[in-house]
Symmetry: C2
Subunit: 325 residues, 2 copies
């Protein structure tokens, strides 16, 4: 018997799903549109159809495969209630009891769990990735925003209401940049793909240009272009990464003072910049923390594969649930 | 049979200890000098003597009393190892294995545990105080510094190395005031008794006086005098509390984004200022957090009694240890 789990990642445009084995390998995968209408019933029906097709496919590959459960990563996912709540980027309004709805269609599965995408990534890192065997670590996902999943004593921290782990919305610059959430000076407004772009434009303003990045409009520039310019020695691009690292290190220093984790994993597009981002982040974090924490906390690149991390992370929830039994 | 626990609080000058019952009432107490020499053996001997005297006293009060264990709160206390490590305010250098040393003298006790003072206060709040029944909360102790104890899923968060929960050393103002730890802009440098005083002097500088507090030297002024002036309507004193609350709310907002606790308890001298500190803190915290956390997290005064909180908090560790068995 080969035990497998289904991982589902619900994004604003697409829902991707796949069958993952206990090594974190994706055996089969599929993708459906995340609807732009608000009809949850219809969505659950098409999602369930896709799940059933995946189960059929995996049984064709391996007749012995046993599907143990479904794990879901979704924006504003609430683990305690199995719901998606007021997700700004999804068409569903209010509270969607997705776990209960799927349970009706898959009553025989042993585990069915949902959490937000960054928590799912943290689970993926713990079950399949670089955090294997770690009991206290933090996962930071850098992309359009800055997501985080916090693990304490081997368990995800969900907090009182199921929504803990929003490190992206801690304040690093009082009265600073406007954040997507409406707040001011949040870490995510500086340390994310759009945050790096904003820093470049701040520097172009400061120096009145002086960079090959002057040729791009605000719409055109992205963190990949900043990275390419930095590799060629562009001073503004290099300084943008320095500033990003300085502020990320400050924010992660706060995380260390709260939690004293063994390691912090960074995942997502901007981490491709390697030392350009890791080095100033580490230096800044060490400078910001209490001496007792210095040189104890590693900042490591995630070992999850970029292409499949979302599905794989979501599937990890299933193994974690089964552990609890 | 009446179960009791011994609580010990090790301060820079004195070590106070007492026998506490399951309601958090202190039955008998004692105090010895925390030595200014570094001789640990001598200290453990006199501490053990005092413990034995307390045990005798409590047995005279109640022949049925059963001493279940010893809980210790100490600066830089490490729960995992039962040690005090590099505590700046104590004469002992290096690592003091206090739990092991006391175990030799009290081998029959069921529980012997040590943690830092703020963690002990958090345990006290959970076992005897306002956090009874809460699984996720944070304790903040305001005094010479800003200490904190974090509870997640009913357990103190110790982190990877036993030193988690140093919210006082998160950064609220980048490149801000020098902190006692050598860092810059830490929460403790603003939101503590000396922090409030520093804010007053900052405001006296800004306004070139304009307050009844101009008559005090830096050595003379304390947070109690600031409170008394604020009660009389002194504008600088009032603004100092506003600023303290603004920054404390920013810092606690970061804590909420990490942990989403049910409540945050404030303990210590400056909390006597009541609404002057609680109101701006709450307003600022709500403004700084992600909307999903708004109006969910209470900021409450600790229910521990100021005079006995340290002993009572330390004793609570014993009941927590017994729960784990």
């Amino acid at each position: 018997m080969k035990r497998v789990a289904i991982g589902i990642d619900i994004g604003g445009t697409n829902t991707v799903l796949g069958v993952v084995d206990e090594n974190g390998d994706v055996l089969v995968k599929d993708s459906i549109s995340t609807p732009n209408h608000g009809d949850v019933g219809k969505y659950v029906a098409s999602l369930s159809e896709s799940i059933n097709e995946l189960i059929d496919s995996v049984h064709k590959l391996n007749a012995d495969a046993e599907v143990m459960g479904i794990g879901i990563g979704a924006p504003n996912g609430n683990y305690y209630k199995g719901t998606i709540e007021q997700a700004a980027n999804l068409a569903f309004k209010g509270v969607v009891p997705l776990v209960d709805l799927l349970k009706e269609n898959f009553p025989h599965l042993k585990a069915l769990a949902l959490t937000n995408d960054a928590n799912a990534a943290a689970m993926g890192e713990m079950i399949y990735g670089g955090a294997k065997g770690m009991k206290n670590f933090v996962m930071i996902t850098l992309g359009t925003g800055l997501g985080s999943g916090i693990v304490v004593n081997g368990d995800l921290v969900y907090g009182h209401d199921g929504f803990a782990g929003e490190v992206g919305h801690t304040t690093v610059i009082p009265h600073g940049r406007v954040c997507g959430c409406g707040g001011a000076g949040h870490l995510e407004a500086y340390c994310s793909a759009p945050g790096i772009k904003r820093t470049v434009f701040e520097l172009l303003t400061k120096y009145n240009g002086g960079s090959e990045l002057t040729k791009y409009s605000f719409d055109e520039l992205d963190s990949k272009k900043v990275f390419e310019a930095a590799e060629k020695g562009d001073k503004v691009a290099l300084e943008a990464f320095e500033i990003t690292g300085e502020l990320l290190g400050q924010g992660l220093g706060d995380t260390v003072c709260h939690l004293s984790p063994e390691a912090i994993f960074l995942f997502g597009g901007p981490t491709a910049a390697g030392d350009l981002i890791f080095k100033p982040t580490k230096e800044s974090m060490e400078r910001h923390v209490l001496p007792i924490f210095r040189n104890k906390v590693e900042i490591l690149p995630s070992k999850l594969k970029a292409g499949s991390a979302a599905i794989v992370g979501a599937s990890a929830l299933v193994w974690k649930e089964l552990e609890k039994e």
